[in-house]
Symmetry: C2
Subunit: 186 residues, 2 copies
DNA sequence: TACAAAAGTGCAATGACTTAACTTTTGAAG
DNA sequence: CTTCAAAAGTTAAGTCATTGCACTTTTGTA
């Protein structure tokens, strides 16, 4: 039981990375829809079948590391500074994940490809219930409280809005100030 | 120029209707994923190619009349009773479209099929900018005002939440009361 | 060393959707 | 009533993502 990192897992991760890299390079170069999965597989020197053993779909090739997003989201609420409200914490977290990103070129690729836009939103919204639960816990409401569910959904839904705005911080402050007013005193 | 209703258009509409009817019947009977487009086309006695000349995708077969939704949405804001705020109007409209629907069986089909759920949300969210513009006009804000865009998005996004709740009116009142507080005095 | 699980491969199939070329219907103008 | 072009429909073949199956190779471990 000494498998901190077996050679096997390293090779697997390597193949996965080769696929993700090849895919991103090709997509950025020629556009998502103009590149077939076969080409990606060829570029990474594996078969198409293998590609689909590593990624559940073509879209997933673009969103490689997607794991700790939910953890960070929940943590932003639970571990917020004492002076911050839940809404404050959400605003700051949204700004944090909207800014440091992996490059504007990448964001442009996603925003300009309908299939990827939709997939990104699906991935993002997948964390809605986890966030709703965290909010409910922090505010002492029942787990399925509708107001908490709504706040979670709206906070997540605001991301695209913020991303699209020329001045992201201003946009975030405007939106979350209103959410703050509405959700104050839970 | 006497084409109020040409025989031609009637036949076309007839084919379209036959397709939508056949599709809905088959989908309700055996489930969306268990029915191929070929079967739908056969049931309506047309070719698959013809089917795709009437509907852009398999999903679209389920959402036949989708036209005046946006009109109704914008109208709900512009033509609201004088005593109602914009948020009031949105709440009532959401409840209206969530209730009178074409039957719970239909809603269940959609909510239980991932592809259809996603498609429904896409269709619904497509009206976001139109709604945002209507809100901006009514509140005297600039067309691209971020707060108006956010309100439009949140109102539309609340639909699923309301639909999923056992007591829809209560849910809608809870959510929109908070939006009202946040967006008051524009 | 031997064995089972994991990783990978090739191939064929499915199912949604597209394209191209061709026939039939239909509205309207001569 | 004929003619003609556009619209509606058809068939056939092809693209592309995704899956299933049977098979080989690699690798950790007993």
């Amino acid at each position: 039981m000494t498998e901190v990192t077996g050679r096997r897992e390293r090779k697997k991760a390597q193949t996965r990375q080769a696929l993700a890299d090849a895919a991103l390079a090709l997509f950025l170069e020629r556009g998502y829809d103009q590149v077939g999965v076969k080409e990606v597989a060829d570029a990474a020197d594996v078969s198409v079948t293998t590609l689909f053993k590593h990624f559940p779909s073509k879209e997933a090739l673009v969103f490689d590391q997607d794991d700790d997003i939910e953890t960070a989201l929940v943590q932003a609420v639970h571990g917020r500074p004492p002076a911050h409200t839940i809404v404050d914490a959400l605003r700051e977290h949204m700004l944090r994940v909207s800014e440091g990103g992996p490059g504007e070129e990448f964001i442009r690729l996603i925003e300009s490809t309908p299939a990827l836009r939709d997939y990104a939103r699906r991935m993002w919204m997948r964390h809605e219930t986890a966030l709703a639960r965290a909010i409910a816990q922090e505010s002492g409401a029942p787990e399925d409280d509708i107001a908490c569910a709504a706040l979670a959904r709206f906070a997540l839904a605001s991301r695209e809005l913020i991303l699209a705005h020329p001045h992201r911080r201003r946009a975030a402050e405007e939106i979350f100030a209103r959410l703050e007013r509405g959700w104050r005193t839970e």
